[in-house]
Symmetry: C2
Subunit: 315 residues, 2 copies
């Protein structure tokens, strides 16, 4: 059996994938408090928002302000999602450390959500890369391949198409590529299979796994990806996110549950789980009308945990 | 990476581990309906109850009647839990196909719950084996090692002690041995590690994995065990069970979620998931005052599922 990575990054995407999927509009001061508390709890990568037109996602209209604030925190990698060149130009101007361009491997999902085919997104990534290089910017470009395990519109998504898109994104100049189970269709066998193959294509540019907990498999899927060497996962505090039209059924992997699983396995995350749980409690007040997820906040840490946690951090 | 087992048995323990942990006392006719419907849905191993004094667990006082009923269903492996020789004699008399004797690897938990040390339980298994052989009975004896990943009373449980108990149970005449995360302390790295070592000790006598979902890791832990070759898991419909003193925090792996995960991975379980979900809906009416668990009942099967499921069953 393969060894596990000795350390793993949990990238907090609650401020983007979480907040864009719920009804509550979180005010900017609370988002800043979230970023500050997550940072204080040890999180070092945060997707703070998305550069999309404010009329489409008013919840994320303050992204530039959040990038500016987050950039001041030493050692924090600040990322944003951008749907196109225009958004990428704003990300570059804001000096985000990383911009993520989503590509849907499902053609039907891509047309419905991005109004582009997957190959048109690849072409946009090439333009973004040119713009980034022309600007002399250091902003990293990540191509995030969504609906990589199936699609609610199209149904099956061929693995060969997922891997073809990955190669195309790399060829177009993406610095990083990731795989996302956008709709909660992945199972750990499929995860193991496609991440192994993706590693052969992308090597160290294979950056992140993104799993939804729609059918309770997010952590099993993380574990399967972890075994293939993936060392970075998206997650949202309290598991917020997913589809607003299926209350309770969806949500991302919960950051606090994932942090616990990894630490309990002896894998360093740099996260102080007690502090993260305190932030979760705060957010559960802010989002009191939303369905939250996760188990650790209720069950608490096991009696055996602290020694292992200290071990993980000192290892 | 290792191959997965081509087929896996989900042993339904809701009628025992589930019902003993909740307040509702389910009447015998409903338990019989549960057994019949689970059988009709394709489940072929069911733990129908426990031979303990009725004053200790009135919820399970009808176990003999349930064994008699379940025995009439062709091809169903009917198991019961017994705490001691006296319970084993009742199981043998009832002609249960399998009796499970729980042993707590945590000495503190063992003394608190069984009023015996682990080695006294081993000695009891030897007496049970002698009684079974003397009776010319075919009832299989399974030694189930609980608190195998830690204990809420004692804290850490040494892996060496878990494996020592396993060897002692085999030496005492257990036909099968299993590992249980009684209190929801396991993580997939620990699962992988101890099941690999257990396999070397017990070979094909290593029978079953039993995981609680206290911290959302039941399915990840199943997956980790599956990779070591374990092909039988305990689960309860709607994830009922766990500790009645921590509402919502506990519960077993949910049978229907586990059945989905396995089928979606292409592993045959023989279970018709739609039928199992229909039974879950029935049970949610019967147990309307209890906290139920699981995700599939709410999220539904993915659009990509049916083809894979048929494939799994015909493979």
């Amino acid at each position: 059996m393969p060894p596990f990575p000795s350390s793993v990054v949990i990238r907090e995407v609650g401020l983007r994938d979480g907040l864009q999927s719920i009804e509550t509009l979180l005010p900017t001061p609370q988002k800043i408090e979230w970023i500050d508390d997550a940072y204080a709890a040890g999180q070092r990568e945060i997707e703070v928002g998305s550069f999309v037109p404010a009329r489409l996602l008013p919840q994320l209209a303050d992204t530039a302000e959040l990038v500016a604030h987050a950039k001041a925190l030493p050692g924090l990698l600040v990322s944003v999602l951008v749907p196109n060149l225009k958004g990428a130009e704003r990300a570059i101007e804001a000096q985000a450390d990383l911009l993520l361009v989503p590509l849907s491997a499902s053609r039907a999902h891509s047309l419905a959500n991005l109004r582009k085919t997957p190959d048109e997104v690849v072409a946009e990534v090439a333009r973004i890369r040119a713009a980034r290089d022309a600007a002399g910017s250091k902003t990293l470009i990540e191509g995030g391949i969504g609906t990589a395990f199936g699609c609610t519109i199209q149904g099956a998504v061929e693995q060969s198409e997922v891997l073809r898109c990955m190669q195309a994104l790399l060829d177009a100049g993406a610095d990083r590529v990731s795989l996302a189970d956008t709709v909660g269709y992945a199972n750990p066998a499929a995860v193991r299979d496609v991440f192994e193959k993706a590693r052969r294509i992308a090597g160290d540019k294979l950056w992140c796994g993104h799993f939804h907990d729609t059918r309770g498999l997010a952590l099993a899927n993380v574990y399967a990806a972890l075994e293939t060497g993936v060392a970075r996962f998206d997650a949202t505090l309290a598991g917020i996110g997913g589809c607003p039209h299926a209350p309770g059924a969806s949500g991302n992997a919960a950051s606090e549950d994932l942090a616990f699983m990894l630490a309990d396995m002896g894998i360093a995350t740099g996260i102080d789980i007690e502090r993260l749980l305190a932030l979760r409690a705060k957010i559960s007040q802010w989002l009191s009308n939303e369905t939250l997820h996760g188990t650790l906040w209720l069950a608490g840490l096991p009696k055996t945990f602290s020694a292992q946690s200290i071990h993980a951090h000192s290892a």
